[in-house]
Structures are given as structure tokens and as C-alpha cells.
């Protein structure tokens, strides 16, 4: 036991390694891969992001000029951000907050307030 004695004594006088969570929050690191946000005005609805998304979380309706995004399917890999030709996708540092339902966000040109939550999920392509 003598080997561990140093660590034991050190532990007695050390501050805890954990945080008192709801009171002290850990700030996300710069460049952390968090929530995905779309810019409905910059977007040209080419569908490059929906073709490349590994989780099939994005659906683009070209005729309708709408983009449906399911944040609960998203794995925050950031592949869509990379392939977007118009830089219309942003990845924030914050993680997704918990929710009561698996919402679907609809993005479109700024006439439609973005992001708007739709009640009924649109049919899957």
C-alpha cells in the first residue's frame, strides 16, 4: 500500500477534479463541433449536403425551396459544412439541448422565419 500513500495524502488536500455541474458549466472549446445551423438566404437548395450527410438528417426540396433538418438524427460530423458550395451552413460550438420531441427544423428563404419547428414530420424520401 505504501506506493499509493502519496496519492492518498495528496487527495486529502486536493480540490475535486469534477465540477458542481448545474452551477459551474464547462465552456465549449473553440472549434468544437456542435449544432448545425443553415442560412436559408445563402442556400441555393442544391442538395449537396443531403447527399453527403452520413446520418440522412437533411432533406432538400428544390421545387419548394425548403430544407428540412432533423437535429436529433445529426451526428455533428460537419461533413455538410465542408461540402456546401455557398457556405450556407454553420457549425456552432454549443451542443444540442435536450428536448421533449424529436423536432424537425425547416429552413427556407427569409420569408419563412428560420428555424421554424413543424408539427407533423414531412414524409421521408
Amino acid at each position: 500500500m505504501a506506493n499509493f500513500l502519496g496519492a492518498v495524502i495528496e487527495n486529502l488536500f486536493k480540490k475535486p477534479a469534477t465540477r458542481p455541474y448545474p452551477f459551474t458549466k464547462r465552456e465549449p472549446f473553440k472549434d468544437a463541433r456542435g449544432l448545425i445551423k443553415f442560412d436559408g438566404d445563402k442556400c441555393v437548395y442544391c442538395g449537396a449536403c443531403s447527399k453527403k450527410c452520413p446520418a440522412a438528417a437533411i432533406r432538400v426540396e428544390r421545387a419548394e425551396k425548403a430544407l428540412y433538418f432533423e437535429p436529433f438524427k445529426c451526428v455533428t460530423c460537419g461533413f455538410c459544412v465542408e461540402v456546401c458550395p455557398k457556405d450556407a451552413i454553420n457549425q456552432e460550438f454549443e451542443y444540442r439541448k435536450p428536448d421533449y420531441s424529436k423536432s424537425i427544423e425547416k429552413y427556407g428563404p427569409s420569408a419563412v422565419p428560420a428555424p421554424a419547428k413543424t408539427e407533423a414530420p414531412p414524409s421521408q424520401a
Binding site: 472549434d31 463541433r33 446520418a55 465542408e82
Partner: protein, 360 residues
């Protein structure tokens, strides 16, 4: 007196992080036979990889394992690069080594912590996990995520590590090494640890070869086999020798992993000092042709093999994964018989089972 009792150990058991079931046949307190049962976390990833676009698979294969995810992606990308004849920029090779070794480091610390936990040494478990947290912080700072870092891409890596972050990695690993110097001797020489591990679950050299064991379990039986010695990526420029122990028991396996944490720290230092400047991604065009490739890398648990077959379209014909735990589970049927039931958790943990990898 000759009646046997069958005790199902798992799939839910305090020492198992993942669902593995072992049907242990006991004669009194002695284990006489063991039948492993797998299949609780099969997710059909190999089939899904055939349905996906080959570029999306990089993110899919990372999700095979929650600990060494980056190394899975590296192995898959290496196979695709082999088929498509893509040459990697040297900096990308080094960055893959840096992230790969960081994954090995945190995986071994996780395992050393779990080993301590399996025989009830809770404070040692906490100590190891405290150090592991710093490694995860580096991963998050440099790539944006803690474990499933999605930093690998076909033709290189997706993110660069800035000089500032490289310096930070060096400071953090120095600090980790200092802290490890305080607790690794506990694993190596503490009587309480030794009494639970020395001479437990012995697997001899010949048996180890016969069973086809890989990774630290094999190296603990005295065979210097390490897939990194094949010199994939930047490993050919980093001079190192595999860690080998002779006794083949749980203690030897703990010592191999403990020494490998130091080895990873050394490799990280070498890789960061030699890191060349330049591009991080080679652009490529087209789809993988009608060819097949096999790639081998060393995971924290042992040798990982990917077989990838293309058919000229964006989908792949076949993706086959052989994970290290798949090779190591048969070893349990030789390690456990003759041991006490109370030793079973330590023995099972000593192969570092990763069931999610094995079942995919």
C-alpha cells in the same frame, strides 16, 4: 460432488462495460468450462457500409467502436486509399499517428482504471480516469469532439493541429507522464494488485500462437508482434520496439498496457518533433474501382483488419472488419478453466473486451 452448476455471467455485469455473456460451468468454486455468447449489440454496420456512399462510411466505421474510433477510420481510409492509389501528404500521416496514439493513450488509461475497478481498487480507478480526461480535452480542442473525433478523411485528415495546440499537447503529456509516474508503480508492484493478478489466467506462448491471439494479450505471452511494426502511416519513421512480457498472466497484461502508455507518450513526442509542414489532404476524383484491399493497423486492443472491395460505383461491394476482440475471445476458453469464480471478472477484463467492435 460431481454436479456442475452453470452460472451465466453477463450480459449485464458490473465489471463489463459492454454486454458479453459467459456461461461458466462450475465445480464447487472452480470454473471447468466456459461458453461465450455474443450478439447483444449487433447493429449491421457492415451491411450499412455497403448501402452508403464510400465517403460517408468514414463516419460510419468510426461508430463501430466508442474508444478507438479514430483508428477504425484510419484503417478504412487506408484500404480505400490503397484501391484508389491515393498518396498521402506526409503531414497527414503524422497527424494520424498523433491522434491514433492519443486514442491508444486514453484507451489504455480507461482499461487500467477498469482493471483497478474490477478488483475493487476504486481510488486507483478514479486516478486513471482523471488523467484520461486531460487526453480527451486535447482531442476535443484539436478536433472538436471527445471520442468520435471524425478527423480522418480519405486522402488525409480533415483538420490541422496548430503549433499552439502542438505545444499544449506536449505540456499535457508531460503532466500526464508525471502523474502516471505516481500511480503506474501501484499497478506494477502493489501487493493487493499483485495478489489478484499474478498467475491468474495464464496463457502460454504456444497456446497463444495456436489460438491466434493479437495485441497486448499476445505481447504479454512473450511474442513481439505489433501491427505498427509493419510501418503503416508515419510509424516507419518513428523508431520503437513492441513491449513484451513473458509470464502471460493478468499481471503481465497489465504491465504491457502500463508500459505502452509510456511508449505512446514517447511516440507522441517523436511525432510532434518530426512533424513536417505542408498539405493535410490529397484531392482525389472518382470512385473506388473494381479492386479489393486489405489494411492492417494496431488498435489499443490489438490488430484490426479491414477488407474493402469496390465495384466502380460510389457504393462498395463489401466491407469486412476483423476486430481484435474477435481473436481474443477464444482465449477466454483457455484462460478461465481451472480458475476460481472470483477471478473471472479480472480475467475477462484482462483481454480488454470490446464487444461493440466484435459484433458491429
Amino acid at each position: 460432488m460431481s454436479t456442475r452448476t452453470v452460472i451465466p455471467m453477463g450480459p449485464q455485469h458490473p465489471v463489463f462495460p459492454e454486454p458479453l455473456q459467459l456461461k461458466l460451468s462450475l465445480k464447487d468454486e472452480k470454473i471447468v468450462d466456459v461458453a461465450p455468447a455474443l450478439g447483444y449489440v449487433h447493429r449491421g454496420i457492415e451491411k450499412a457500409a455497403e448501402k452508403n456512399d464510400f465517403t460517408q462510411n468514414v463516419f460510419l466505421v468510426e461508430r463501430i467502436c466508442g474508444i478507438c474510433s479514430f483508428i477504425h477510420a484510419v484503417c478504412y481510409c487506408m484500404a480505400i486509399e490503397d484501391i484508389m492509389k491515393i498518396e498521402l501528404p506526409p503531414r497527414a500521416n503524422y497527424l494520424r499517428v498523433i491522434w491514433g496514439e492519443l486514442h491508444r493513450l486514453h484507451s489504455h488509461m480507461l482499461w487500467l482504471g477498469l482493471l483497478a475497478d474490477s478488483f475493487g481498487f476504486e481510488s486507483l480507478f478514479m486516478k486513471f480516469w482523471e488523467i484520461r480526461e486531460r487526453i480527451l480535452d486535447i482531442l476535443e480542442k484539436t478536433t472538436g469532439a471527445r471520442v468520435i473525433i471524425s478527423a480522418c478523411a480519405i486522402g488525409g485528415v480533415r483538420r490541422d493541429i496548430s503549433d499552439e495546440h502542438l505545444q499544449e499537447i506536449l505540456t499535457v503529456i508531460d503532466k500526464c507522464e508525471k502523474e502516471l509516474n505516481g500511480i503506474i508503480p501501484v499497478v506494477m508492484s502493489d501487493t493487493t494488485v499483485k495478489r489478484r493478478t499474478v498467475g491468474v489466467g495464464v496463457i502460454e506462448k504456444e497456446k497463444a500462437i495456436h489460438l491466434g491471439i493479437v495485441g497486448p494479450v499476445l505481447r504479454a505471452s512473450g511474442i513481439a508482434q505489433d501491427a505498427r511494426m509493419t510501418g503503416y502511416g508515419a510509424y516507419k519513421y518513428l523508431d520503437f520496439k513492441p513491449v513484451v512480457e513473458e509470464s502471460g498472466d493478468c499481471y503481465a497484461r497489465a504491465v504491457v498496457r502500463a508500459k505502452e502508455t509510456y511508449q505512446s507518450i514517447g511516440l507522441l513526442r517523436k511525432a510532434i518533433n518530426q512533424l513536417p509542414s505542408g498539405d493535410i489532404l490529397t484531392k482525389y476524383k472518382g470512385n473506388p474501382g473494381k479492386a479489393a484491399a486489405v489494411s492492417r493497423v494496431e488498435q489499443p486492443r490489438g490488430e484490426l483488419i479491414y477488407y474493402v472491395e469496390g465495384n466502380g460505383t460510389k457504393n462498395l461491394e463489401r466491407v469486412r472488419v476483423r476486430t481484435p476482440t474477435f481473436s481474443n475471445v477464444p482465449a477466454l476458453s483457455k484462460m478461465l478453466p481451472g480458475m476460481e469464480l472470483a477471478d473471472a471478472p479480472v480475467i475477462v477484463l484482462s483481454i480488454d473486451p470490446c464487444i461493440s467492435c466484435t459484433e458491429r
